[in-house]
């Protein structure tokens, strides 16, 4: 566990370093945006001094590192609010979106994959595979745009085609506003998960334990559920773990497309404004989010896989 935490810290450090130096490579500085269009060089310099942008790069890096290590992500250049506060406003939205999307698609994928494997080579199986393949391949931003069109222009009022409704304001509206983005965000997850499960369940037919189960006259249901499905969950879980990163990536697209005020939007906005502290904070927290999600999936994986569980407990 300790080792893992250390590894995570190293990864985050690399990410931070990367992002920091990339940011500073950018031409110009946020000062130009702050001072407005009619500023004198002296004014710009004074703003830069105020932001600490005039110091040598390494000094800036060290200060920033020191600050972040103490848990202080700084303040947004534009709102003056603390970055952590800004993040706390946005993080739950992305989190919820991702969760809802996963909770919607993963069970569906598990069912589809299982049914397809059970009805192998039937039209049903073919349908699942075609839908699965399409769902992986279809460009999410395009599909999202078409859905906005569909629900905005042709089916107005059926589902909100964009925007965010707070849970407190209108719980039903809140759920409704999540439907389309969650649908698009997790679509690929469906295909990948269903495919993985299907393939691995079909493969499990040839395993010794399924054969032995048959030879012992176990009921079909038991074999499918306790042997084939249970064991196929392992590779499936591993794949889902990787998908979390994909979904985070997708949230940048989806949140902008559906106009959701989550981390993806924050990131795009803060970068557009060259709001360094906010952008660094957003990137870091997405990275942390990603690592945590992977940790959870790994724990889940360990829970499913006794071999790993033993080692996990041993650490």
């Amino acid at each position: 566990m300790l080792r893992r935490a250390a590894a995570m810290a190293v990864v985050l450090l690399i990410v931070l370093t990367l992002v920091f130096f990339l940011m500073r490579m950018a031409p110009g500085s946020p000062a130009y945006l702050i001072v407005g269009a009619d500023a004198s060089p002296a004014e710009i310099a004074s703003v830069e001094r105020e932001l600490g942008l005039d110091k040598p790069l390494m000094v800036q890096y060290a200060t920033e590192l020191g600050r972040i290590l103490t848990g202080d992500l700084g303040e947004s250049i534009f709102t003056g609010d603390t970055v952590s506060h800004e993040l706390m406003l946005r993080l739950p939205i992305t989190l919820e979106l991702t969760m809802v999307s996963l909770l919607f698609w993963i069970p569906l994928a598990l069912i589809a994959g299982r049914v397809a494997a059970a009805r192998r080579d039937t039209p049903l199986d073919a349908t699942v595979r075609i839908i699965g393949n399409l769902s992986i391949a279809v460009p999410s931003f395009w599909l999202g745009a078409l859905l906005v069109l569909l629900f905005g222009l042709y089916l107005p009022g059926v589902l909100p085609s964009s925007g965010w409704v707070g849970l407190a304001e209108d719980p039903m509206g809140h759920l409704r506003s999540l439907v389309l983005p969650a649908f698009v965000l997790g679509l690929g997850t469906f295909g990948v998960t269903a495919n993985t499960l299907r393939v691995s369940m079909i493969e499990s037919v040839r395993t010794d334990y399924v054969r032995f189960g048959h030879a012992m006259g176990l009921p079909e249901r038991r074999i499918n559920r306790s042997l084939a499905f249970r064991n196929s969950l392992l590779p499936t879980t591993a794949v889902v773990g990787q998908l979390v990163g994909v979904m985070l990536s997708g949230s940048v697209l989806i949140e902008n497309l559906f106009n959701l005020p989550g981390m993806g939007r924050l990131l795009v906005d803060s970068i557009r404004r060259q709001d360094y502290p906010l952008a660094v904070g957003a990137t870091l927290s997405l990275a942390v989010f990603f690592l945590l999600a992977n940790l959870i999936v790994d724990i889940l994986y360990a829970a499913l896989n006794p071999r790993v569980r033993q080692k996990f407990a041993g650490t």
């Binding site: 031409p27 199986d125 460009p139 395009w142 069109l149 495919n195």
Partner: protein, 300 residues
């Protein structure tokens, strides 16, 4: 569209890839057909169509004999724009996957060869960091910061398209390297490696002549699948407005423009380029699956 493309699951003591059902061949053929269509469009489309930068019709005219895909909001022929965009996509995808391979192969093989020791740790940790920042986050950070126009990296000027290519290549590298590493790791357990070393074959030669032929196939499969991801990523970046910049038409850029005109009922504007993009992603995906089945031969 996702960046996780490999749904292959390795099961069992012998490393054997999952044998898919009998439909595999048909699917692969479809994949080849789709990719061929796409490549034909990308290579020859721009030669036989009107200039995608010239306004040759009314703005937002629907598909017709003169404009197969209709026109865009400025009255330019959508088909020629889509064809030109497809060309950009393919170029970006091919070059970025190529660059990714060039970086990933030696690193992945090196990591696999020194598995568990510091070169492996170092390489994998850096790749992990890259993978920790999702592609679009990474792209937004880089493109948002260095701007969407060309910039100077020391004495070298990196064009806007070059930047996107590099980005996709960097994002792909960890995936390729992981596959290469895993394949290397599996391969060096095989007896033939130690047998060859015993025979006095130099390490370099063992790696280049013997190991590589076995590491390449899974990496090629992965790169086929990444072609789909790269085409998608190029489109998505264009869609976010940080892709290859106008006037060069790109699929994502066209779709992004199209979203502004959807409420005017110009469905074709959004649908057509998206379908072409879909053809590419489905095609490359199926092709990757097919390559997987094909290149797996030779294993016992």
């Amino acid at each position: 569209m996702t960046t996780i493309t490999s749904t292959r699951v390795r099961v069992g003591p012998r490393r054997r890839l999952v044998v898919k059902g009998r439909h595999v061949k048909g699917m692969t053929v479809i994949g080849v057909a789709l990719v061929s269509c796409y490549l034909l469009l990308a290579i020859f489309g721009p030669m036989f169509t009107v200039d995608p930068l010239q306004r040759t019709g009314d703005p937002l005219a629907g598909p017709s004999a003169a404009h197969w895909f209709g026109t865009d909001h400025l009255g330019r022929d959508l088909f020629s724009r889509v064809a030109a965009g497809a060309r950009v996509s393919v170029l970006v995808a091919v070059i970025s996957v190529g660059i990714g391979l060039v970086f990933a192969l030696p690193l992945g093989v090196c990591a696999g060869y020194f598995a568990g020791r510091w070169p492996d740790e170092l390489i994998m940790r850096v790749f992990e960091a890259i993978q920790t920042v999702p592609l679009f986050v990474f792209a937004m950070v880089v493109l948002g910061i260095t701007g969407v126009s060309s910039f100077h990296l020391g004495p070298i000027e990196v064009s806007a398209a070059g930047k996107i290519i590099l980005l996709i290549a960097i994002a792909a590298t960890p995936y390729f390297a992981r596959v290469a590493r895993a394949a290397t790791l599996a391969e060096i357990q095989e007896d033939y490696i130690s047998a060859l070393r015993l025979l006095g074959v130099s390490r370099r030669r063992v790696i280049m002549d013997e190991l590589m032929v076995n590491v390449l196939p899974p990496v090629i499969v992965q790169s086929c699948l990444w072609m789909a991801v790269a085409v998608f990523a190029e489109g998505a970046l264009g869609f976010l407005g940080v892709g290859v910049q106008p006037p060069t038409p790109t699929l994502g850029g066209v779709i992004a423009d199209a979203t502004r005109y959807m409420m005017a009922g110009a469905w074709w504007y959004c649908v057509m380029p998206g379908l072409v993009l879909l053809v590419a992603t489905v095609g490359f995906g199926l092709l990757g699956d097919g390559a997987n089945d094909l290149l797996d031969r030779g294993e016992r």
